[in-house]
């Protein structure tokens, strides 16, 4: 029951098609049945992704894919949870959730179609838009500094941080699979050409710049140094992979019963006065 390409609401040539193929293949290669996978997403072009992959999904509100993912993972540690959205969703509207979710150290995979633009709303400045970019709401050019998602993820303590590129499909598939299989919070920022609204960061532009890292950097500071590289050369691949990082697992809730003793304990608690 895969969706026909014609039913997909993306423009022909959009980088999201390749990302979808990579994600679909990665999921196919996982040792996890589809019924145990949940995709959450927010709102945007990227956030439509779950509709084109055959797994469970909760396509929520703009910016909120991460709190949904946290709630699902805590309630059901047995599920494989992937939060999928765009740069506006994950880093703008949901920017605080991005920071705080990494701090929770749950086994969640965060995937981002980073097209450096608000595509669904037709091309406004996003947190990763290049300075000077002109669009409908920035007729004089974007004055803000861009956010570096991989550097931010590293500084928040994400144990697995990678950058992928829609133009390198099989490399991307491996990155996504590795991120999902990694036990802990993994972040993959995926460079995604938007053929309709991003005239700067095109396939050609990336083609000239992107190079593959052969292996993860050793140590956080090396990783941060590489993460900061952006311009003439843009590294893609796993920037950082920390096997030692602790991962928090929620206790089993589903199917567990509250007992009479739990209720007795509850009745014995003292009152509190809290502001």
């Amino acid at each position: 029951m895969t969706t026909a390409r014609s039913d997909i609401a993306w423009c022909p040539g959009c980088g999201n098609f390749a990302i979808r193929d990579a994600l679909e293949k990665a999921i196919r290669e996982l040792p996890v049945p589809r019924k145990d996978i949940v995709l959450t997403s927010g709102i945007g072009q990227a956030a439509k992704m779950p509709h084109y992959i055959d797994v469970n999904f909760f396509n929520g509100l703009h910016g909120r894919s991460l709190p949904l993912a946290v709630g699902i993972k805590l309630a059901r540690p047995d599920l494989t949870v992937i939060a999928y959205s765009g740069d506006g969703c994950h880093y703008g509207e949901g920017g605080n959730h991005f920071i705080q979710t990494i701090r929770r150290r749950l086994d969640i995979t965060i995937l981002v179609s980073d097209n450096q633009v608000y595509a669904l709303t037709k091309g406004q400045t996003s947190p990763t838009t290049d300075p000077g970019t002109v669009n409908s709401l920035d007729p004089e050019g974007n004055r803000n500094l861009p956010l570096n998602p991989v550097l931010l993820a590293l500084s928040m303590g994400a144990p697995f941080v990678a950058r992928g590129y829609a133009g390198e499909k099989s490399h991307l598939k491996d990155l996504i699979r590795e991120a999902i299989l990694f036990r802990g919070t993994s972040v993959v920022d995926i460079l995604q050409p938007c053929v309709s609204f991003n005239r700067t960061n095109t396939y050609e532009w990336y083609g000239d710049r992107v190079y593959r890292l052969r292996k993860p950097r050793t140590g956080l500071f090396q990783a941060m140094k590489t993460a900061a590289v952006w311009g003439d050369r843009i590294p893609i691949g796993v920037l950082y992979r920390n096997e030692e990082a602790e991962c928090r697992t929620g206790k089993t809730l589903y199917g567990e019963r509250i007992t009479d003793e739990d209720i007795r304990n509850q009745l014995g608690l003292p009152c509190v006065m809290m502001r």
Partner: protein, 545 residues
């Protein structure tokens, strides 16, 4: 026999500890009592006061001035409360409490010990049996309580207001404990929240349960996150709730709408405090009724409960989870600071059997939003069968996929919004008290129930015939709910803690019923029985007798 004491002091000085310890002892000794507090939004300094009413019969509200006893832990208590001390009442001045403090310091090595000494003093004033007090207290407090008794004897206050303990050993809960307990009884296993007075202690009690019970509390980065986390947990198959106050609920609104669109069950506690904005963070009000009834963009069904007693709070909190599930809607519990912070003895037996939701079945043909005869689609959770569970905040088809089929859109709205008709049959009827035949019927909702009930009884004793009607469900309001009470042919008075008479307006909008008078209070404090009696007496008799 009815005895009211106020303990006043600076924040952090121990007045709350005195209240807490006193109510623990009173419960253990089998007294009927009611306790509540009036405190400032600060951690040290200022002036807080704690009020305890002890009687030989059930009491569930503040009686109102005058006080029978005042315990002053600061100078402000004298200025603020002494004018309201009744003739022959006990005034424990700051000099006297200082003496207790210094003796506590020298005898027991700490000023903190004086809290227990004050409790011992109080117990002696009401004539508590010294052996029973000694048995009920722990080893470490026994001597302190005894010391308090000797102060009472030294100053000739022992047994001054003797009250027999008539409650039996009952359970003592505050409103927020009741809500957390009710939620756990209702099978709620997940709560996410961001601290905000007066909802924080619900989170505290839930997180305490999580130490050993199969429940989880997650502190979210903000209320937006909290409600989305809870919706994620609910989608994944675990009953979930959030609790907050008005400002936090403002942030949660998008989540309310998301619950409506995705038909994800959720229970939301809104513990009101005076607004707008930050308002009076630690005081009480009932001004968010309109807000809750209208919260969230778009049209979808909801239920709003406003419990009026501890038992009702436990019951409604518990049942909220069944209803949220059954109708796949958000269910609200609308309370306030007064209810949250009042400690009450529960006289009736509590139904304490925890509920458990049997896992729903799903087969390969499962569609989350299947259009069915009764308008309720089958609920199922991911990973429990081969069928996929897909939900979407966009308008969606039966499978949960985005759609812009506008004919289907209309059918989906009818399904979600049409559920209001099903809610009619599930409505919780209001509670009648007082003289059922009386011409004048006083309406209230939420935490005013037991204050009004006592006021109606007291006025009845004066020969003023009144009936009271309390709405534990404030939305939806249906004709069936009020049918037995003949509202159209009676003089109606409403009692609310807000300036706009929001419930009266809702009643008019929903049922075309008009009240002729309103008693409104919105200075941040609860009503007392005495004050409510004065207002109602004036309305009924046309003057202040």
């Amino acid at each position: 026999m009815d005895f009211s004491v106020v303990i006043g002091g600076e924040a952090g000085q121990g007045a709350f500890s005195v209240e807490l310890e006193a109510t623990e002892m009173l419960a253990a000794l089998g007294y009927h009592f009611f306790a509540t507090k009036n405190y400032m939004s600060r951690v040290r300094g200022g002036h807080n006061f704690h009020m305890i009413r002890i009687a030989d019969h059930p009491v569930h509200a503040l009686s109102g001035y005058p006080w029978d006893m005042i315990m002053a832990l600061d100078g402000e208590t004298e200025r603020r409360h002494r004018p309201n001390l009744r003739e022959g009442g006990i005034y424990l001045s700051r000099e006297m409490t200082r003496e207790i403090e210094s003796e506590a310091r020298s005898a027991f090595g700490s000023v903190v010990a004086s809290n227990s000494v004050l409790v011992g003093f109080l117990l002696s004033v009401i004539g508590a049996d010294s052996d029973r007090v000694a048995n009920a207290s722990g080893e470490e407090r026994r001597e302190l309580l005894k010391r308090g008794r000797s102060f009472a004897e030294r100053w000739n206050f022992a047994g001054h207001f003797a009250i027999p303990p008539r409650a039996g050993t009952g359970c003592r809960l505050d409103g927020n404990q009741a809500l957390a307990l009710g939620a756990i009884l209702g099978g709620c296993q997940f709560m996410a929240g961001y601290p905000m007075t007066p909802a924080t202690s619900i989170m505290h009690h839930f997180s305490m349960a999580a130490r050993s019970a199969p429940v989880h509390f997650e502190q979210a980065e903000d209320e937006i996150s909290a409600v989305n986390m809870a919706l994620g947990a609910s989608y994944a198959g675990v009953r979930a709730m959030v609790a907050t106050s008005g400002g936090g609920f403002a942030l949660m609104q998008e989540g309310v709408s998301l619950a409506g669109m995705t038909e994800t069950p959720i229970v939301i506690v809104l513990a009101q405090r005076p607004g707008p904005a930050t308002g009076l963070p630690t005081r009480t009000e009932q001004a968010d009724l309109n807000f809750v009834v209208h919260a969230g963009h778009g049209e979808f069904a909801r239920i709003v409960f406003a419990p009026g007693s501890i038992n009702e709070a436990i019951r409604l909190a518990r049942d909220s989870f069944d209803l949220a599930d059954r109708f796949q809607i958000p269910v609200f519990l609308l309370t306030d600071q007064y209810f949250a912070d009042s400690v009450q003895v529960v006289e009736e037996a509590l139904a304490l059997e925890p509920r458990f939701r049997e896992p729903p079945a799903a087969d390969a043909a499962y569609r989350r939003y299947r259009l069915t005869e009764d308008g309720i689609s089958p609920l199922a959770f991911p990973g429990l069968s081969d069928s996929l569970v897909r939900v979407d905040s966009d308008e969606h088809d039966e499978e949960g996929k985005i759609t812009e089929d506008l004919e289907l859109r209309t059918r989906m709205v009818d399904k979600r919004f049409g559920r209001r008709d099903l809610l009619r049959n599930a409505a919780v009827p209001p509670t009648l008290f007082g003289n059922g035949e009386a011409d004048t019927l006083v309406l209230c909702w939420g935490s005013n129930r037991l204050i009004l009930q006592e006021a109606v009884e007291r006025l009845g004793g004066e020969g003023i015939r009144l009936a009271g009607l309390h709405f534990g469900q404030v939305y939806p309001l249906t004709a069936e709910m009020i049918a037995p009470h003949g509202l159209k042919s009676r003089r109606l008075v409403s009692v609310e803690n807000n300036a706009g008479g929001q419930f009266a307006a809702l009643l008019k909008r929903e049922l075309g019923i008009e009240v002729s008078e309103s008693v409104l209070k919105y200075n941040g404090e609860c009503f007392t029985v005495g004050e409510l009696c004065r207002s109602l007496r004036r309305i009924v008799t046309g003057g202040d007798r």
